[in-house]
Symmetry: C2
Subunit: 525 residues, 2 copies
């Protein structure tokens, strides 16, 4: 009878729906029952799993949940309907009358006339226990059951809503969605360790590749998206990406989801940062408005205080600092870092976290990186307005660097710990002759790097020279070709979807925001 | 400046949008320009690629396309703005006045005041030629350029719309979206040849698995979805799946997309078939209404007559026959098959196509298969109403089999070539003792099998026995556990997304409906 619930909601798409109309059926989801306007005893049927049983002398109370909402439906029954099979975790079908609840705890309740146990649950053997708030670490051992808890239920419903919000954001902004390939023959981008693949059983015969060439799991859809931005102007992808890195950190997975966008006719980082900030804020606000109870649960029990931290992020303009300035801030820091901050070396997680804190726990864009620590496709901005304004060797005022994004911004000026003279003699910066590229990362509280992006080198000869230097010309001939025929200035970015969820929900470990986490030594189910 | 276009459309999500409002900017996408209401000379800017150049003595005509629509924008300029760089494929930025076109071919045109060539295109070297309608086979050689043609542009915009339509359908029907994993340690489902993976360079050391266990690319998200349907009741996934099969057919890829759904508290195939038919029809109608020009192009140039064929599918109720009946129809066929149809053996593509044709080119559900040709998790329907009604050995009327789905259906009765007596003596069917499972496939014109699904064995002891027989008990202990704790009758289905696109558009080769096709011996880009 599922079809009924489903049919009623979707039938509006299908004007010539051929199905015989079921009478407004008694079957409701828990969410529908909880939101019902008519509570004058309408007969309904609800199916779900028992979340609590309270057996009194004359009355039996149950709470039934079907995953359609965090809240369960209260069932009130005559104790004659009680049975030993009504245990936590068992599945039931309940028929009865939907009435206004006399209690203030809920609006409605179901006065049961018939209770049918569909599937038993041996509560002793069931690893999820009644009334217990299991630690997330404990639940991770049971990927097939943890979704039945309040907390994972809420996180995964939020994940579903956030997915829809991201798709809506791009669709409403005129982007074309592209399924970039998971299997790719590109192996040289240098974004991380790769998984290689072959048909099962043929792993030991790499000379006979299935695809004729070695094939890998994608680390990013960017290059393929660039192909598509040359046809559709604005494109995005939202799919799985992979790293074969031996990391057990709270921010890394071997399989994770990336939201990536690529945009043609873009010639400044400012435009990219604007889309990034909008994407972050607009989707977070959609999630907050579409599943407030689920978000509240996370903000209450997983990360107390996170509600305020998120509001702080949403109501403030994101900040901008240059990479050079970031290094300077780190060098001036009183904190001892495991990795000494140094110009020309990539920022470490500890550095990212310090920078965000230093910026008042507002997300901060770090822009204009040395080419040496970024991939080959990043655009040299020697000729761009960004570069001349922001090159520390030529700039006379550090405020220019901070203010060039949006003149009306004032939030940065009061921040502490910046040197008063630029370039500081201590920085040891070369005063010229180093390549700065138009790359941007967004660092956020609790997580560190959330977005990475930049302008791509669209000039054939610049790119050709870079590829030649790395001996990659042949492999990337097709990529060079994009610059031969109707090339346009363009740029894009990628966002780690799990980190995004961590950031808005305050979930500490990335393994708890994905249904089935994959990481070194673990591939359960 | 891209941000502008994007910002205006999405700003409604973000009530506290922090950006300074750009003045209603001159920059429009081609789609926006074509749909503009104000054609009284408003100054605008358009960026895109030249699709045609017509240079007359005093006037220059260009058509510019940016991928936002199939139609290009006509640019009219004084011939003084002409230049040798204005070639097919080059990228341009044009400023001018948007006016009502005097020609009937288009509503508006852009009277150019300034034409800037952004990126040249050497038309001689460019593999896409002006005014040429390249065969799809030719275009496949250029996965980085074919998206710039009308036909691939339309197909990929339709793909994007269909993706959105499918997400909407499920969201509006109350389904939770789940990202099922791509990497899995399940290797025994038997859905096809698997890709195995290891970190690059470690392929030859399978004894040191990255995940401690051998890991594979998923062939289906079903089992993981079943986990989630035990928490959320209605779930779906839409992601890449993989087969390492050495097939060069027009219907197979090594990497393709599947839409899968799993639904709890479902106890008849009828409910599943209803959702399947709705999904097919509702999303097809959304695509038709959201990108009519793109669909028209396909129906006109790729598959003439497809418009009528699709309408025929959409306006008729899908049919239902049992597997046993299907075999009987095939045996009675006048056609010679490469594979002789035989009860107990899977249907071949040639059989599927014959059946669809036989059923008047209406999609047809084939239900109730022998267990032997379906996976271990399919529900034995010996005890179900389906079975008793449809078991050919006990049924006295073949119409029962066809009519039990929806009593009001009459479309089947007139079909030819059915035996008048059941069971026919010629069938050689065992009259009892064989296991029939509640499985369903949907066969559609042009493609054959589009959906596959069924009820899952939810009864612990039935499933345990099956697994034990196959020696799989240990590997699938977690799957068995789902039946130990609050088990519910449930079912689900999967749809090949590329085949769906083939079916509605009439595209013959599956390689032309995916951005970057992967198949044996080919992994371009």
């Amino acid at each position: 009878m599922l079809g009924v619930r489903c049919l009623f909601r979707s039938v509006r798409f299908c004007s010539s729906a051929p199905f015989p109309k079921h009478k407004p059926s008694a079957k409701l989801s828990v969410r529908e029952a909880l939101g019902a306007q008519n509570t004058s005893g309408e007969r309904i049927k609800v199916q779900g799993w028992i979340r609590s049983v309270r057996s009194q002398k004359e009355v039996l109370f149950l709470h039934v949940n079907d995953g359609s909402s965090l809240e369960s439906l209260q069932i009130v029954a005559d104790s004659s309907l009680d049975s030993r099979e009504l245990t936590f975790g068992s599945s039931v079908e309940i028929q009865g009358q939907l009435i206004k609840s006399p209690s203030k705890r809920q609006n409605v309740e179901l006065k049961a006339e018939k209770i049918k146990v569909i599937g038993n649950c041996d509560a002793k053997a069931f690893p999820i226990k009644y009334k217990e708030r299991h630690p997330l670490e404990y639940l991770r051992q049971y990927p097939h059951f943890r979704c039945r808890t309040n907390v994972l239920g809420s996180i995964l419903r939020i994940r579903s809503e956030a997915t829809a919000a991201i798709h809506s954001f791009f669709k409403d902004s005129g982007f074309v969605h592209i399924h970039t390939p998971v299997i790719t023959s590109n192996d040289s981008e240098g974004a991380g360790e790769l998984f290689q693949l072959e048909p099962s059983g043929k792993l030991k015969l790499p000379e006979k590749n299935f695809f004729n060439v070695p094939a890998f799991l994608t680390v990013s859809g960017q290059l393929h998206l660039e192909v598509m931005s040359g046809a559709f102007t604005q494109v995005f992808t939202f799919g799985p990406t992979f790293r074969a890195e031996n990391s057990q950190s709270r921010r890394h997975l071997a399989e994770f989801y990336m939201v990536e966008a690529e945009i043609s006719f873009v010639d400044s980082l400012q435009d990219l940062m604007q889309v990034i900030e909008e994407l972050f804020k607009a989707t977070a606000m959609m999630v907050l408005s579409n599943c407030p109870e689920d978000v509240e649960l996370c903000h209450k029990f997983i990360a107390p205080g996170q509600k305020d931290r998120l509001e702080h992020m949403l109501k403030n303009n994101f900040l901008i600092i240059s990479y050079t300035e970031a290094v300077e801030i780190l060098k001036q820091a009183s904190q001892n870092f495991t990795f000494t901050p140094e110009w020309g070396v990539d920022l470490q997680t500890e550095h990212e976290k310090y920078l965000v804190k230093h910026c008042g726990n507002i997300p901060v864009f770090v822009i204009n990186y040395p080419l040496a620590i970024k991939p080959f496709y990043m655009r040299d901005n020697e000729d761009g307005p960004q570069h001349t304004q922001q090159d520390p060797a030529t700039s006379t005022s550090r405020h220019l660097m901070l203010m060039n994004y949006r003149e009306s911004r004032t939030s940065y000026q009061g921040l502490p710990h910046l040197p008063h003279h630029w370039p500081p003699a201590s920085s040891g910066l070369p005063s010229s002759g180093y390549s700065i590229v138009a790359a941007v990362d967004l660092l956020v509280p609790g997580v560190g790097e959330l977005f990475g992006g930049g302008l791509r080198e669209e000039r054939y000869h610049f790119l050709e020279e870079r590829l030649a230097r790395s001996g990659l010309t042949e492999v990337y001939q097709w990529y060079l070709d994009l610059r031969r025929f109707g090339s346009v200035p363009h740029g894009g970015f990628g966002m780690g979807f799990e980190r995004y969820l961590q950031c808005i929900l305050g979930v500490d470990n990335i393994k708890d925001v994905i249904p089935f986490p994959r990481f070194p030594h673990s591939c359960l189910l």
